[in-house]
Symmetry: C2
Subunit: 110 residues, 2 copies
């Protein structure tokens, strides 16, 4: 990660879901997209992503299918209805968390 890896903890799953909320992606493509969207701040490793995708699929938050993309079969992941609901909840938690952090950091600052 470009940022301290500790920060990533907990938000990785949400970030993956957020990317998939737009349209289906396959793993490798997802990493590149995440990197782009974050202006090179997030450089998620494959050793991080694939276990996350497998867990998401296991929990039925995403569904995978083998599809031919530009002449090659790839495992494409799509978000499910359940996944969309989970994402909405995680976004809410993230907002609560980040606001609380900013509140502590800016205490006393006018």
């Amino acid at each position: 990660m470009a940022v301290d890896k500790g920060y990533m903890s907990g938000s990785s799953t949400m970030l993956v879901l957020a990317i998939l909320a737009e349209k289906p992606y396959y793993g490798y493509e997802l990493i590149k997209t995440l990197k782009q969207r974050s202006n090179d701040t997030f450089d998620m490793k494959e050793g991080t992503l694939y276990p996350i995708l497998h867990k998401l699929e296991n929990d039925a938050l995403v569904a995978s299918s083998n599809q031919e993309v530009s002449g090659r079969v790839r495992k494409v992941y799509a978000i499910t209805e359940k996944g969309s609901r989970a994402l909405a909840k995680e976004k809410q938690e993230w907002n609560e968390f980040s606001m609380a952090v900013n509140q502590v950091l800016t205490f006393g600052v006018v």
Copy 2:
């Protein structure tokens, strides 16, 4: 934690330093202050705080001294010059990180 514990990872140390940046605190007091400042979002456990304080002291980011506070000897922690510099850096990293998250979450949203 009131929020998912995963989110805390990485920011706990920064939050402790941020509290100490205002004035010296002893451990127990610090937990209560953090909880107040965050509107009950952060409920840090003692098993989390004390190891953090010990590590911070070991790295010379804080300094401790036994002081009598309201008729009782307590271990009071104060931020050092080095600690202030570390806090400034961590704040910067936090800003970079949270902005990147928000950028990914709000992609395509007008």
